[in-house]
């Protein structure tokens, strides 16, 4: 139990309040309300830490903190016990995510104070990022699927607004639209999953569903996690819905760091982690959906190599990081898939569950959030200095930007997975879990090979980026200078975390302790493992070092000219294919232009000819009826009325001839009338007497 549980609400309400303040009064505040937003986020961080420490104290370390629901108000009334509430679920996973999200958001907001200083529309920016942070905090603390979906969509909206922050730039507007529409595909699948869950269980709460998964048919048990994963694929930009993320770099760099490193794209991984209640049923005797698990692992394994290969040839510093984000997220999905496979196998054989792959994926999420935010913010610092995204116009910046260059080196080392930086531990664990899963299904050996090649490519493009930006001669025209303290300070903090966030697992007694399936026998990484694990870790470190060496040889010492690769047969083709992103974006565009527009044209034709024809026909018919009834009205109805009135007039004309105005005429009439009445009365009484008397 958490003491003073109500403060958890403030974690969400503070950034929400800051959003309202910035949106309403931002224009009148300093920095467009930036200080308010930063302050609110600092408050959220403090409260998140408070919750996190309590969870840790009460058994997060080496034990199991009993998940606690902080019940909120009824949002959708239903039969008692079945209503949908807005509640907060505090368990190991959500308490950790709350700290992670609020901490990174705080650093990014502080950085924004300097980075966005010159920009127009700061109130809008700060309002949107604050709402965005609310969305992410709400997503990770949601108690049920519907609440998760709502905050998930708030994030989707904010990402649209923020990517299109410079909406007057056509590319930014297009990128925002693309991001919104592509993620929408996944969101529809997520929504369908939520509806199925509701109709099957009558509840959307994670804890209740986990105990009832036995109710599902095997088909639905496969379908639901796949649909949820569909949502995750959209949000986390996995193949085939990856196309939006590289374009989303049109937003301000701080937005890229916020959306594409620390928060939004991680929501997909988080959702998949939450869907473990389906993937690894906690109810004995329920067969786990291996198909769904394999789909997750294969999409992850494929996307990681796919995205990393495109990062190799890109010249835009942010795009390289964007592809890298897709690739690293795919690692997490691969880890989740492999972890779920191992656990499901163990559950089938009645063995104790080993959450290694699962915790490795979330471990990587944790580490990646730090080093990718660091890389994005570092890239922002560089862009701030040289006013371009193109790495071909950079170079030699380590002299003019010593701090940025060093922190970026830390980020690159962590991304490449060089010991002891954070990426090494989590990536190594994911790869060893995948290899381990290979014993159960040989497909995982292939995915392991993908992951290993990706480790090489990752190291290569990370250092390609670093060497191109900071080594050699400066190739641009700006007078580069180091960024202000407000920007470098968050960078230095993040660099520190890029170094130590992997090592944090040692004092914690293994990262697996902290997340979801906390277990007493979780171990710190790389201690007391079988020899095979050391071999695998050594292998991934080896290929990473090879990648660094290759990048250094090509882009720094130039011992290997880059032209040699394009010179070999097919090399130029590969280079072009990667630069064109495997033509997938073109294919989507062509699909949109031909199929969608074709269908739209056909529908338009149908609309014009058939629907409009029917409507017009009905209209003409109505007009004819109106004309006919008009004639009937005029001739028959009006005729009758006119005839009556004409006859009345004529009769009255005749009658008024009798009104002479001469009193004595009237007197005659009266007299004659009276006489007539008298005669009548006498006549009647006479008749009566005559008839009655007989």
């Amino acid at each position: 139990m958490i003491a003073n549980a109500w403060v958890v609400w403030l974690i969400l309400l503070l950034p929400l309040g800051a959003f309202l303040v910035a949106a309403v009064a931002g224009r009148r505040l300093r920095e467009g309300g930036g200080y308010v937003v930063v302050g609110a986020m600092a408050g959220s961080l403090v409260l998140s830490l408070y919750v996190f420490v309590q969870v840790l104290m009460q058994g997060g370390l080496g034990g199991n903190f009993a998940p606690q629901t902080i019940t909120g108000y009824v949002w959708l009334p239903s039969i008692p016990g079945n209503e949908i509430r807005i509640s907060i679920l505090i368990d190991n996973l959500s308490s950790l995510m709350l700290v992670l999200v609020s901490f990174l958001c705080l650093l990014i907001f502080v950085y924004s104070l300097a980075y966005m200083h010159q920009e127009e529309g700061k109130p809008r920016y700060y309002a949107e990022v604050s709402l965005f942070a609310t969305g992410m905090l709400g997503t990770v603390s949601a108690d049920n699927f519907l609440q998760l979906l709502i905050f998930w969509e708030i994030m989707g909206l904010c990402s649209y607004l923020l990517i299109g922050f410079w909406y007057h730039k056509p590319e930014a507007a297009a990128a925002a639209k693309k991001a919104f529409l592509v993620t929408r595909v996944g969101d529809v699948l997520f929504l369908i999953a939520v509806l199925i869950i509701w109709s099957e269980f009558g509840t959307l709460r994670f804890n209740e569903i986990a105990t009832r998964v036995g109710l599902l048919s095997p088909q639905l048990l496969t379908l639901i996690p796949l649909l949820l994963f569909g949502g995750a694929v959209g949000k986390s930009a996995q193949f085939p819905l990856h196309a939006w993320l590289p374009d989303a770099m049109e937003g301000p760099t701080t937005v890229s760091a916020l959306i594409h490193a620390a928060t939004m794209v991680k929501a997909g991984v988080f959702l998949t982690a939450r869907s473990f209640i389906f993937l690894v049923p906690a109810v004995p005797g329920v067969a786990p959906p291996f198909t769904a698990i394999l789909v997750i692992a294969v999409i992850g394994g494929f996307t990681t190599l796919f995205a990393a290969s495109m990062a190799v040839v890109n010249n835009d510093i942010k795009r390289v990081l964007a592809f890298s984000t897709i690739s690293q997220l795919a690692y997490m999905f691969l880890g989740l898939g492999a972890g779920a496979f191992l656990m499901a196998n163990e559950a089938v054989h009645g063995e104790p569950l080993n959450p290694a792959g699962y915790s490795a994926a979330l471990y990587h999420l944790f580490n990646h959030a730090f080093f990718k935010a660091l890389l994005f913010l570092g890239a922002g610092s560089v862009i701030h200095a040289v006013s371009t995204n193109d790495m071909r116009e950079m170079g030699g910046l380590s002299k003019s930007m010593p701090v940025t260059s060093k922190v970026m080196l830390f980020g690159a080392l962590a991304l490449a997975g060089i010991v002891p930086f954070s990426g090494f531990f989590s990536k190594g664990e994911i790869l060893s879990s995948t290899f381990e899963a290979g014993a159960g299904n040989p497909l995982f050996y292939l995915l392991y090979a993908f992951g290993l090649v990706t480790a090489f490519l990752t190291a290569f493009y990370a250092f390609r980026l670093w060497y191109l930006t900071f080594h050699g001669e400066y190739r641009g025209h700006e007078h580069a200078h180091e960024s202000p303290r407000l920007m470098t300070f968050p960078l230095m903090i993040l660099a520190g975390f890029a170094l130590v966030s992997g090592l944090l697992a040692y004092p914690m007694g293994g990262f697996g302790n902290l997340v979801f399936f906390a277990r007493a026998d979780a171990r710190p990484p790389l201690i007391g493992e079988p020899a095979q694990v050391y071999l695998l870790e050594g292998l991934s470190l080896g290929v990473a070092l090879l990648g660094v060496w290759l990048a250094r040889s090509i882009y720094s010492t130039r011992r290997i000219p880059a032209e040699r690769f394009t010179a070999i047969p097919g090399g130029a083709f590969v280079q072009r294919m990667l630069a064109k992103r495997y033509w997938i974006d073109d294919a989507y565009d062509a699909f949109g232009r031909t199929v969608v527009v074709g269908v739209a044209r056909a529908l338009d034709w149908f609309d014009r000819r058939v629907i409009d024809g029917i409507v017009n026909g009905v209209g003409r018919g109505g007009m004819r009826i109106a004309v006919e009834s008009d004639a009937f009205d005029r001739r028959v109805i009006d005729g009758a009325v006119n005839a009556v009135s004409l006859e009345t007039i004529r009769t009255s004309w005749r009658l008024r001839q009798r009104q002479t105005g001469q009193v004595q005429n009237y007197a005659w009439v009266v007299v004659v009338g009276i006489v007539a009445v008298v005669i009548l009365l006498f006549g009647m009484s006479f008749l009566q007497r005559f008839l009655g008397g007989r």
Partner: protein
């Protein structure tokens, strides 16, 4: 004692004279006089029946009738005076403006 029938005959004769005056004469004053005669003929009937039956309320009614006749004559004369002032004549053949 005079029989009731004689009185009624006198009354009827008076009424007929009055009626002739109303229908035949052209002078409005004469017509008004004739109306008075008819009124008095009916009042005479009241008195006669009151006498014959011994019920005095008929005589009371006769007094009321006389009062009404006086008022009627006053109103009628005022109307004729007004007509004379506006049209210069009280010949009933000329007075025919109350028509359509």
């Amino acid at each position: 004692m005079i029989p009731l029938a004689y009185e009624l005959l006198v009354s009827a004769a008076l009424f007929c004279i009055g009626l002739y005056g109303v229908l035949a004469r052209r002078n409005a004053i004469i017509v008004l006089l004739s109306i008075e005669i008819m009124l008095n003929a009916s009042i005479l009937n009241f008195v006669a029946f009151s006498w014959g039956s011994g019920n005095p309320s008929g005589q009371v009614f006769a007094l009321l009738g006389i009062a009404v006749a006086a008022a009627e004559a006053a109103v009628g004369l005022a109307v004729f005076l007004s007509i004379y002032q506006t049209h210069g004549s009280i010949d009933l053949d000329q007075i025919r403006f109350l028509k359509w």
